[in-house]
């Protein structure tokens, strides 16, 4: 208990430890790579989920692998928590610093080490931006497929940590499907070569285990990614519907017809309005929902597939079907979808982005329940949907300056995730659990599964020093949450009706 100790001795102890650590790091890193003053640490206090903020004790910015090895040695010896960070664009608080820990920024490791145009691979450092890989590969007619919306800024290291997706993952897969090899440092000082330049590796699939592990198993220092030939052609169909259920049925009909589109996205009425007001993408403003469906591949395949898609949209009751006239219009249609989040930021002071996944067939029902919750909580909600792979991004609009609204938005979001889990889905498709969704992890998994997750972590990080407290809730936390969960309505929002 804190109260058992005289506070001055605790803070003295802390100060000494802090000063010693700063000195230790300064002995192995250039002075400017060790940050410890509050104003220098400020930029690291949160990631893309800015509702959670915490200053780290120290931030270090190593420039190469050798320096990271030295940093980890010190942290291991002193039992100091280490939180890795790329560009800090994550949306679940995965890179939220630890108050008594070191924030390890990998931003300086930003070199593309090698592009092999014949093997179609790129070997890069973790701090390389996602889009920078495709830009560098373009000269060889190649690109890196996973394209999260934040691809201008987010780093490939962060993509591996979160197993990021994007709008093309129904056809091209997630990060886990597009990486070949990782170089990983363990907190115990081992260098692991996971995966290889071949298509498989002996032993357990640790490459899959590392993907989406949220910086809790090791520190990635090098990544070899797969590159794909840039498709000869790409074409987009925008279909408008007067009913969201018809739009959902159109999506199912496309899949039923044996088409795997390169992209298959859906937006609801409120999103369309927000996006149109923002960037004039050319969507039908009267539509209840629109579906964007992209085909890519050879010229012949695209021409034929687009005709099929148009036919299916028509049969599914679309009120307007536009095929992009030329590349400029195709980009504009996509720009609307990719601007959905900032558009939300224009119609509301704050928004809270959720990331549930559901089996597609439950879409209409889940959207109806979200609508009900929206009136229950008195908060608006925009829905964008990676329809092809069942990944729903409800954007809850709120105003943090109004007392209680953030808490309401969080409670609303938690209910949405619970609905996704009930529908047989998952609480996170691509944003990760981080600090944000720990409670819902208690609902999606039982004690035994969570127990095994902790066991997996222990196999890599026995003292739990890497990003501790994230992604997997403790059994204790779940016990408490379970008790709270039953009474939630009574305790937090006694004025809200419950049914």
């Amino acid at each position: 208990m804190l109260s058992d100790f005289p506070t001055y001795s605790l803070s003295n102890h802390f100060k000494m430890r802090h000063a010693n650590l700063v000195e230790s790091f300064q002995s192995i890193l250039p002075t400017e790579s060790v940050l410890y003053e509050t104003e220098d640490l400020k930029p690291y206090e949160c990631d893309g989920l800015s509702a959670y903020r915490q200053l780290p004790m120290i931030a270090v910015l190593p420039g190469n692998e050798a320096e990271i090895i030295e940093i980890l040695k010190i942290c291991e010896a002193e039992k100091i928590p280490v939180v890795a960070r790329g560009a800090g664009t994550g949306l679940s608080g995965g890179a939220l610093p630890h108050a008594d820990g070191v924030l390890l920024s990998l931003a300086k490791l930003n070199e593309i080490l090698e592009i092999d145009p014949v093997a179609c691979t790129a070997r890069v450092q973790p701090g390389v931006r996602n889009l920078a890989i495709s830009e560098a590969a373009e000269a060889y007619g190649l690109y890196y497929a996973p394209d999260p919306s934040s691809q201008i800024a987010c780093t490939i290291g962060g993509n591996v940590a979160e197993n990021s997706g994007g709008v093309h993952c129904l056809k091209y897969g997630l990060t886990v499907h597009n990486i070949l090899k990782l170089r990983v440092l363990t907190i115990e000082g081992d260098v692991l070569e996971i995966g290889s330049e071949a298509l498989d590796s002996p032993g357990f699939d640790l490459l899959a285990l590392m993907s989406g592990s949220e910086g809790m198993l090791g520190i990635i220092t090098e990544i070899t990614v797969k590159l794909l030939p840039i498709p000869e052609a790409a074409q987009l169909v925008m279909a408008a519907f007067d009913d969201i259920e018809k739009a959902g049925a159109a999506v199912a009909n496309i899949i039923r017809a044996g088409i795997v589109p390169a992209g298959l996205e859906m937006m609801d009425k409120m999103t369309i309005a927000a996006v149109e007001a923002f960037i004039h993408a050319g969507y039908d403003p009267d539509a209840a929902a629109i579906v964007l469906c992209e085909s890519d591949g050879s010229n012949e395949a695209v021409a034929e597939e687009i005709e099929k898609i148009r036919g299916i949209m028509r049969e599914s009751g679309a009120v307007r079907i536009d095929t992009a006239r030329g590349e400029a219009e195709r980009r504009r249609f996509w720009a609307g979808r990719k601007a959905a989040f900032p558009a939300a930021g224009r119609v509301s002071p704050d928004y809270y982005c959720m990331d549930g996944t559901i089996p597609r067939k439950h879409l209409a029902e889940v959207l109806r329940r979200i609508e009900d919750l929206s009136s229950e909580f008195g908060l608006r909600c925009m829905n964008v949907f990676h329809a092809g792979d069942g990944n729903l991004h409800p954007l809850i609009l709120y105003d943090a300056n109004r007392s209680g609204e953030l808490e309401k938005a969080e409670a609303f979001g938690a209910r949405i995730l619970e609905i996704c889990i009930e529908a047989g889905g998952s609480l996170t498709g691509e944003h990760g659990v981080g600090i944000e969704k720990l409670n819902q992890m208690c609902l999606q998994f039982g004690d035994a599964e969570r127990d095994l997750f902790h066991a997996v972590k222990a196999a890599f990080d026995p003292d739990s020093l890497l990003n501790p407290g994230k992604a997997i809730p403790s059994l204790h936390r779940c016990a408490e949450f379970g008790a709270m969960h039953v009474h939630r309505g009574d305790e937090q929002f006694p004025d809200l009706p419950r049914f």
């Binding site: 179609c120 993952c169 899959a208 285990l209």
Partner: protein, 356 residues
């Protein structure tokens, strides 16, 4: 079905108490694969736990009990115009889906559509303590918790008993055509690489008996256009040729010899070897049909030099570990994971590595 799960759980709990090794077995189609089972291991049969749990073609997801025959699953998917896109080898008609995922093997389409692990979405697992655990799910994207489902793929049953698997499935291509070229190995490899750098509907490549076979799959017009671009003769017996490569019924695989599987960087130059070889996966998979006394150390060194690893696939010998040895740091992680999933070490001991 519940009774079967109860029985399996009981067996695991009992084996745990008695420290009795269990050899998990579906249909036995891959008994030859991996290090041989111990003499005193008792069999844990998963075959009776069979059947499709859920299949909705518009979701592109199927959930299947582990004992379900692979044939049965594939014909069901086929009825709905869908398939397992990793084209798993069954080797014979007894193969089950559980064994297919536990071995993690993929067929000719692997280099173009992905591997078994790429299509695994969720699993139900019986662990070493007799607990039934669920990981992943029936959705395409899921980053809640560590990816235990993919970790099980290819683990050769050493981490637990697979009870149920959910897989992503894909539509079958509208049309398929195989082109055939008479080419020496160097030029065949070069052609394979050229194909990989372009948008071509290639779904399989194989160089065997001095011939390069390229399979095109997709919309007819795209297949036609690719055929014009690549040239070559249309090979008539498309289906049975790829079946014979996938299931290794082709004469190349069938002689009484030692079969090495080298998984390497696809651009690795041709190996200069004295035995016959076949090449698949755009150059990334090389099969050596070697004599019994062929030097294992040399094969493994060659594979490493080519950025990959070598498996003694058939013709196993107790003196040669079937799978490529792991670096010490990786072995340490493997042993620790094994202890966490199966503390007493009852599941398929030494089948994957002699150390666990």
């Amino acid at each position: 079905m519940e009774a079967i799960v109860e029985h399996l759980t009981e067996c695991v709990v009992k084996a745990n108490e008695n420290k009795q090794a269990l050899c998990i077995r579906g249909g036995g189609s891959k008994d030859f694969y991996g290090n041989p089972k111990g003499l005193h291991d008792s069999k844990l049969e998963t075959g009776p736990y069979r059947g499709i749990v859920d299949y909705d073609p518009t979701e592109l997801v199927v959930s299947v009990r582990a004992g379900t025959p692979l044939n049965e699953l594939e014909s069901l998917l086929s009825e709905h115009g869908q398939m397992l896109a990793f084209e798993p080898p069954g080797f014979n008609e007894t193969a089950t889906l559980g064994g297919c995922i536990a071995s993690g093997l993929s067929g000719p389409r692997r280099a173009y559509n992905g591997a078994a692990r790429d299509f695994v979405l969720g699993i139900k697992l019986l662990d070493g303590q007799g607990r039934i655990l669920n990981f992943g799910g029936r959705v395409m994207k899921n980053v809640a918790g560590y990816d235990v489902s993919r970790l099980m793929t290819g683990a050769m049953g050493t981490l637990g008993v697979l009870l149920e698997v959910s897989l992503k499935v894909l539509p079958k291509p509208e049309t398929e055509r195989t082109l055939c070229f008479e080419l020496p190995v160097e030029q065949a490899l070069e052609t394979m690489r050229r194909c990989a750098g372009q948008t071509l509907p290639v779904s399989a490549t194989c160089h065997i008996d001095r011939r390069l076979y390229i399979r095109l799959s997709g919309i007819e017009s795209a297949v036609d256009a690719a055929h014009v671009k690549l040239g070559g003769d249309e090979f008539g017996d498309n289906l049975s040729f790829w079946e014979s490569i996938k299931n290794q019924t082709h004469p190349f695989f069938r002689d009484n010899k030692r079969l090495w599987r080298l998984s390497v960087k696809p651009t690795a130059p041709p190996f200069s070897i004295t035995c016959e070889q076949a090449i698949e996966w755009g150059g990334a998979l090389r099969w050596f049909a070697a004599a019994k006394d062929y030097d294992a150390t040399a094969v493994r060194a060659q594979a490493e030099k080519a950025g990959g690893h070598a498996t003694l696939f058939r013709g196993n010998d107790p003196s040669i570990p079937a799978f490529h040895p792991l670096q010490p740091a990786l072995l340490k992680i493997h042993q620790r994971l094994k202890r966490q999933f199966d503390p007493v070490g009852i599941f398929n001991p030494r089948r994957l590595y002699p150390e666990f």
